[in-house]
């Protein structure tokens, strides 16, 4: 049976690529067309809800296998995020990239990437999944090096990582096919539990590592910060917001779709420690180490991209917690993370649009000039830090609660350490950009145009509304859990069922608003206040004016630098250098077989023929 919206969505994204090639030089037309196509895709996506469970088989045959797509609840959840965030990115870019150089191919690659992601998410067999996964990583690569120049080298680094991860995935898929004789998800899932233990372990390890690279899990994260931060800021938000999370999609599919978490517990290594627990430990390290690295960044975008890695750790902790609450928390965190990180990066982009810099040591005091961007960043960081009443808190609460219930105190404390580190670095972010002294060179700047404010307002609403009413999203997640045969999360419209835990966001928010009102009354009880110039300020009797920089933002956490500086060993960067020089050396040796001497080549051919003829029998 043909599910029309799926076919149309895939068709539309291909059409978008084609249209953008036709309109290569006509930037304004490109913008309008891209906006309309993405809007149509979001509209189609909303219709998908009725078609969950249906399968579409395309008349395209690859390696004797027809490409097939299906709409699972998980696919619906992810496509909803993909299409909505792409539309917001396009709306934001309409204004922010207008008239900029190197943007002719911007929408083209955006469509290619979206096509890849939609395909991966809809795919119903492993071959389709893998082909579109490849397409998606190429889309990522092209988006990364959009600004040209300096962004090319980190993008190349990504390609090395992505190709290695694809090789691992390919090997895993080949092994699965060799055992089950099928690519179809349904058949693979049915045959998976009967695999020999060693082979299953190998497949799971290969694919986990492959997906871990894409989701930037701890020791394999080094490609991310530089490459995301060096492209356009609107793309940084798009890439961090959704692209990185495709790795998590893969992990969910692998763990729940194929392995099943009861099976995952089977790989006992020592005592109670099993594979699931080991992945969780890497998840915990993914939270702590990148979060504390973010603390010492001097560039707003790089700081946020480091958090992008760290937040992935929460999702992994949640998904691998084997607890209905925790799994729901992990899946919910993907959505929450997407909303607030995009909000944060849009706000940073708004600042960058006016000031031309995202260097945290050069900004300050912009709250007086860009209040909307400030509010956007404020909502975003409250979400990112996981403080009520924003949505980041709800999913993090699920994860903490699940880890405590399952009795993993040290995983739970690493999640909390991550939150504390996040609070520190996001305060540095908002302080150095918006608070403190306004620099004289930014005295004249204005708020960004309406089209750039619109996505910020929408996301602010989303971050707040899903925080107070997590129910609608949780209902989708409960469906995902049921579709994988897991226990669904016991949710209510405003929190969790009292039997499973104590959380009611509506009550918390109401009491908070009541407290604010009371505090406001206390504030009004005092006499009037007046707003004064930033130069009327305590400086121990010194007269301040524009010529005196009276601001504290460089090396914001000096105490922590004393503590952490001895620990900064850059192990991963040095490993990368070692590996690349090893590859270079090996390549240098391999190169020497091409001596340029005809006799040597003739000898090679002879040797090859001899070897082949020896094994000819086995080969045939």
């Amino acid at each position: 049976m043909l599910t029309e919206p799926v076919a149309l969505m895939l068709l539309l994204s291909v059409a978008g690529v084609v249209l953008n090639i036709i309109l290569y030089r006509l930037q304004s037309l490109q913008m309008i067309v891209s906006f309309l196509v993405f809007a149509a895709m979001l509209a189609l996506n909303l219709q998908l809800y009725g078609t969950i469970g249906e399968t579409l088989v395309l008349p395209v045959v690859v390696f004797g296998q027809a490409m097939s797509f299906a709409v699972s609840p998980l696919a619906f959840y992810f496509t909803l995020m993909i299409t909505s965030i792409t539309l917001l990115t396009v709306i934001f870019s309409l204004e922010s990239l207008r008239g900029k150089a190197c943007t002719q191919a911007y929408y083209l690659w955006l469509f290619l990437k979206t096509f890849g992601m939609l395909g991966v998410v809809f795919a119903a067999d492993l071959l389709t999944f893998f082909l579109l996964w490849e397409l998606m990583t190429w889309g990522t690569f092209f988006l990364m090096q959009q600004t040209g120049g300096e962004s090319f080298s980190p993008a190349k680094k990504y390609v090395v990582y992505a190709v290695s991860s694809s090789m691992l995935l390919f090997l895993g898929i080949a092994l699965i096919h060799a055992w089950t004789g099928s690519f179809s998800f349904r058949e693979v899932a049915a045959a998976f539990p009967h695999m020999p233990e060693g082979m299953m372990l190998l497949v799971v390890l290969l694919m986990t590592v492959g997906f871990a690279v894409e989701s930037a899990m701890f020791p394999l994260h080094a490609w991310l910060p530089e490459s995301y931060a060096s492209t356009f800021t609107s793309l940084t938000s798009y890439l961090s917001g959704i692209s990185t999370r495709m790795g998590i999609y893969g992990l969910i599919l692998l763990l729940f779709g194929f392995v099943g978490h009861e099976l995952a517990d089977r790989f006992q290594l020592i005592g109670v420690i099993n594979l699931r627990y080991i992945v969780s430990i890497f998840g915990a390290l993914t939270i702590i180490i990148p979060t504390f690295t973010a603390l010492f960044q001097h560039d707003a975008k790089r700081l946020v991209t480091w958090h992008g890695i760290g937040q992935g750790g929460y999702m992994i902790l949640g998904i691998f917690s084997a607890n209905a609450l925790g799994i729901a928390g992990g899946i919910f965190h993907i959505f929450n993370y997407m909303t607030y990180v995009t909000l944060i990066l849009f706000s940073i982009a708004a600042v960058e649009y006016r000031t031309g810099t995202s260097n945290l040591n050069k900004l300050g005091g912009l709250i007086k000039r860009q209040p909307v961007a400030f509010l956007g960043l404020l909502f975003g960081i409250i979400g990112l830090a996981g403080i009520p009443p924003m949505n980041g808190f709800v999913s993090k609460w699920f994860i903490y609660k699940a880890l405590i219930t399952e009795g993993y105190p040290f995983l739970a404390i690493s999640a909390i350490i991550g939150t504390l580190g996040t609070i520190l670095s996001v305060y540095k972010l908002i302080h150095n950009i918006f608070l403190g002294q306004l620099q004289p060179e930014y005295n004249e700047i204005k708020e960004v145009p309406f089209l750039m404010q619109l996505p910020i307002w929408v996301l602010m609403l989303a971050v707040f509304a899903t925080g107070v009413f997590p129910g609608p999203i949780l209902s989708l997640i409960a469906e995902i859990q049921s579709s994988f045969g897991l226990a669904p999360v016991p949710y209510t419209m405003t929190g969790v069922d009292p039997a499973a835990g104590t959380l009611d966001m509506l009550v918390i928010t109401t009491v908070f608003i009541g407290g604010l009102l009371l505090a406001w009354i206390v504030f009004l009880l005092g006499h009037k206040r007046r707003h004064v110039s930033q130069y009327q300020n305590y400086a121990a009797g010194h007269f301040l004016d524009e010529s005196i920089p009276y601001n504290f933002n460089y090396n914001f956490y000096t105490g922590f630098e004393h503590i952490f500086n001895p620990m900064k060993k850059k192990v991963i960067a040095r490993t990368e250098v070692a590996v690349s020089s090893l590859v270079e050396a090996a390549g240098d040796y391999l190169r020497r077989i091409y001596t340029g001497n005809l006799a040597t080549y003739a000898m090679y051919i002879m040797a090859a023929l001899v070897v082949t003829s020896l094994f000819l029998k086995e080969l045939i």
């Binding site: 830090a385 609460w397 405590i404 105190p409 302080h431 918390i508 505090a519 300020n537 504290f552 105490g559």
Partner: protein, 296 residues
């Protein structure tokens, strides 16, 4: 009906207790220094004076909002911590919620102080946040340990479990490692010496309070009074078996406060990195030992 009365009057009661605790602290300090000291209601006079200042200055709307957020967030926290006779809201948010709504006031203050555009304030906030990471990690770990021990994260259930077994059921007795670790972390949380790095009047001109005057400082003092009650009550609820009635609650509050004031009176001030190192060495190691005892 009684719930409504509690909701209306509880902030006032908590404020009165907080003011008296702070006044008691100043008197205690004075007596340690062989002074006569101010009257015990001195903090109330201070707050009244600050609120009735004729002129007030502000550096912008976030500076105003910050004070509202500071006090509003504190009131929110206050309601979610059960005290004898009033635990209406603890069924809607557990300790994990309290731990994170405790951060709303800090965030509010941090934002407001940031807008005052005074580097002393920013340095104070930077130190306060570093201290937060210092004391909150051991404190959170002690809580996780208690939650695993009790099998719940709900305050009133933890209190009921402790009270069921009398004084030997108290968290401090069942797991003294966690109790002591949390006590040291609480000391840092209350910002008393030697962890008073955030205010440090002699180095950074009272840090966050530098540009606060009049009603702004008054609201910060009101919040401080409430915060003292909140922090002590959290410790009492987790490790001193909560309180069955108001008499024992007040006794526990004053005993705990005296303990903290005695340490406060004896010490100078740590540097911020030394304070954090201390927090990550002594209480954190104690908490890890306590948790290992529980799970093994």
């Amino acid at each position: 009906m009684s719930t409504v009365l509690w909701i209306i009057f509880y902030p006032i009661i908590a404020f009165a207790i907080g003011v008296i605790l702070l006044g008691y602290g100043r008197k205690f300090n004075a007596r340690v220094q062989r002074r006569y000291g101010p009257p015990i209601q001195q903090v109330f006079y201070d707050i009244l004076k600050l609120m009735s200042k004729r002129t007030n200055i502000s550096h912008g709307w976030m500076h105003d909002t910050a004070l509202v957020m500071l006090l509003g967030g504190t009131l929110l926290t206050l309601y979610f911590i059960p005290v004898p006779g009033f635990d209406f809201f603890s069924g809607y948010g557990d300790f994990l919620v309290v731990m994170y709504i405790l951060l709303i006031p800090s965030l509010g203050m941090a934002l407001g102080v940031g807008e005052t555009a005074n580097p002393n304030g920013s340095i104070g906030i930077s130190r306060a946040l570093q201290m937060l990471a210092g004391y909150d990690i051991p404190f959170a770990l002690t809580f996780i340990g208690m939650a695993i021990l009790a099998g719940t994260t709900n305050f009133s259930e933890i209190i009921a479990l402790q009270q069921a077994e009398g004084i030997f059921g108290w968290g401090l007795m069942t797991n003294p490692f966690l109790g002591v670790a949390a006590l040291i972390a609480l000391h840092g949380m209350m910002g008393e010496k030697p962890f008073e790095v955030m205010v440090a009047p002699h180095e950074i001109a009272t840090g966050p309070m530098t540009e606060m005057g009049g009603k702004y400082l008054g609201m910060m003092m009101i919040q401080h009074a409430l915060n003292v009650v909140i922090e002590l009550t959290i410790y009492i609820n987790l490790f001193l078996g909560g309180a069955a009635n108001w008499a024992s609650y007040l006794v526990k509050l004053f005993v705990l406060m005296t303990l903290i004031l005695s340490v406060n009176a004896l010490f100078g001030r740590f540097r911020v990195d030394d304070a954090v190192r201390f927090m990550w060495k002594v209480p954190l190691v104690l908490a890890v030992i306590g948790v290992l005892i529980i799970i093994l």
